[in-house]
Amino acid sequence: MTTDILRVENLTMFYGTRGGDVRAVDDVSFTLKEGDSLGLVGESGCGKTSIALTLLRLLPENSKINEGHVWMKDTDLLALSEEEMRHFRWKRVSMIFQAAMNSLNPVYSVGDQIIEALDEHIGLMSKDQSRERVAELFDLVGLDPALMDRYPHEFSGGMRQRAVIAMALSCNPDLIIADEPTTALDVIVQDRVLRQLEEVQEKLGMSMIYISHDIAVIAEVSNRIAVMYAGQMSEMASSYAIFEQPLHPYTYALMSSFPSIKGKKHDLEPLPGEPPNLITPPSGCRFHPRCPRATSICAEEKPPFKDYGDNHFAACWHPLEH
């Protein structure tokens, strides 16, 4: 029996702006089992990155967490002090940021930047020890350890992304959150980086949260998928079940609007309208103004995030055939 490494309960998070509060994450709950990989998928502004930043407590100052708990094993991350959280980051949970390949410091060698992270979080090691550790990490992510004294500009985009992954792995975290880890990369490089991540995850037994707008990438790397819309969780199930039998009309719409090179060329169905403004989100189900199945109850009451069996959850008053 595997245990839950992460349990997010009723998380609600706002950003305060001059125009009013942006309800970026609204009552989101999910769990992640040890060694599992969860894909968070949704369009821009649906709250995927806000969840990641909340888990790491890296939110900007204008944000406030109104409600909820983030349990990692037995620790409520939201109850930790800033100092305690600092010890938690990197060692227990680390993150690969979007366009992380541009986040390396150009004036330090790649190896030195990883050593700096090691020194900061694990404590000072001898020079040989830390260089050995960096070599090990380079090897793990498929980089030649001989390149550790090179500078970021000498690396290609794919290599920089690998270096950032090595850095995220440096303190042996239990959980890695990868926010659009391959969005800026070309397909062939993307494929390699994704496979490397999968391989490393399997080898080290880590848990992963992948965040992407690209349902094809998510389908490749995660065994569970959570679909978000406008700050709320629409549906969550095993990757297979999501594709085999989507329950939420939004999940279905996302999938039928995604072109594929494989299989029969089906007609793509556009989704009418645009994602809502989260300062004044629609009442009831936030998807109802764009939903082909919506009725009056959808505008009035928020549907519960209900288990339809086999850990297949959906929040919809009129789910598709089950």
Binding site: D191, E220, F258, G263, L268
Partner: protein, 334 residues
């Protein structure tokens, strides 16, 4: 009127090359060149769209800019059929004759946040090609802009005409860019990754709009994209580019079903499939894309090719060969 024979092809590109000098110092002449586009040959039929796919740095955007003459080619010819039905080479035109040519071609750019002037109203932006070309009076332009905004789904037009880009969403901005490109009734439009910045649910709407308008006005697109799945829906034919060369060209479904060049195979194998129930082939190629700076005279793909041998090393870049069913491939090993 022109017969069918005389209208084909609409665009004919011959041995198109563009070299960019790699500057060493201000006083010395460039010793090396990036061979961004190196000997392209292709044709586009009227009303049909060609997709150019490939990784970043392969020269697809440079090709697009050459075809609308935002860049001047180093060598080669770009023939475009004019209103009288004659093919004319526009590769080295300048001044008025270039301006006349620009009534026939337009470009849609990738980033709708960057390609619209933030200080101009939507009306100014969409009407700009008309004013550049000195077409129509103000009321005529207003009518035309309203008509185009209506066509691209920005309705009612008078609610959008005098707004500014920052008041519109990404999808709406890209619709404005499409309206601007189509307002002077071009026959040929270069679309450079027009949907890659848009959200999934918005993207399909813009893709469908572009297809619909192409059918309606008989516009041909050169559709530049890194995404083969998008190219599948937008084009009748696909050319795969690698370091300045087209290595394979075939009708879209034929290319996806029966790729021949090892690079095309790798691209297809690396494209994620949005369905965990469908498997993928493993990809075999090594290394990453390099820059085509004074490339050696052999197959551009040699360094990464899984099936290359001594013959590929010792011979020049392979020519495009007809493999039947409209399929052309540049590879000695196929």
């Amino acid at each position: 009127m022109a017969t069918l024979m005389e209208t084909k092809p609409l665009v004919k590109v011959e041995n198109l090359r563009k070299l960019f000098p790699v500057q060493t110092s201000i006083f010395s002449r460039a010793k090396a060149h990036i061979h961004a586009v190196d000997g392209l040959n292709f044709e586009i039929e009227p009303g049909s769209s060609l997709g150019l796919v490939g990784e970043s740095g392969c020269g697809k955007t440079t090709t697009g800019k050459l075809l609308v003459r935002l860049l001047e080619p180093t060598e080669g010819a770009i023939h475009l059929r004019n209103q009288e039905g004659e093919l004319q080479d526009i590769a080295h035109r300048a001044g008025t004759s270039l301006q006349i040519f620009r009534r026939r071609v337009q470009m849609i750019f990738q980033d709708p946040y960057e390609s619209l002037n933030p200080r101009r109203t939507i009306f100014d932006t969409v009407a700009e090609p008309l004013s550049v070309q000195n077409l129509g009076t103000l009321p005529e332009r207003q009518d035309k802009v309203a008509e185009l905004l209506h066509l691209v789904g920005l309705t009612p037009p008078d609610q959008f005409m005098y707004r500014f880009p920052h008041e519109l969403s990404g999808g709406q901005r890209q619709r404005v860019a499409i309206a601007r490109a189509l307002i002077i009734d071009p026959v040929f439009v270069v679309a450079d990754e027009p949907t890659s910045m848009l959200d999934v649910s918005i993207r399909i709407g813009v893709m469908q709009l572009m297809s619909e308008l192409a059918d309606r006005f008989g516009v041909s697109y050169l559709y530049i994209t890194h995404d083969l799945a998008v190219a599948r829906y937008m084009t009748q034919e696909i050319g795969v580019m690698y370091l300045g060369k087209i290595v394979e060209m075939a009708p879209t479904e034929e290319l996806l079903a029966h790729p021949q060049h090892p690079y095309t195979k790798a691209l297809l194998a690396a494209t994620p499939v949005p369905d965990p129930r469908l498997g993928r082939d493993p990809i075999e190629i090594k290394g990453g894309v390099s820059k085509p700076i004074n490339p050696p005279n052999r197959c551009r793909f040699y360094d990464r090719c899984p099936i290359a041998d001594d013959y590929c090393r010792d011979n020049p870049h392979p020519p495009m060969e007809d493999k039947g069913s409209g399929h052309f491939t540049a590879c000695y090993k196929v």
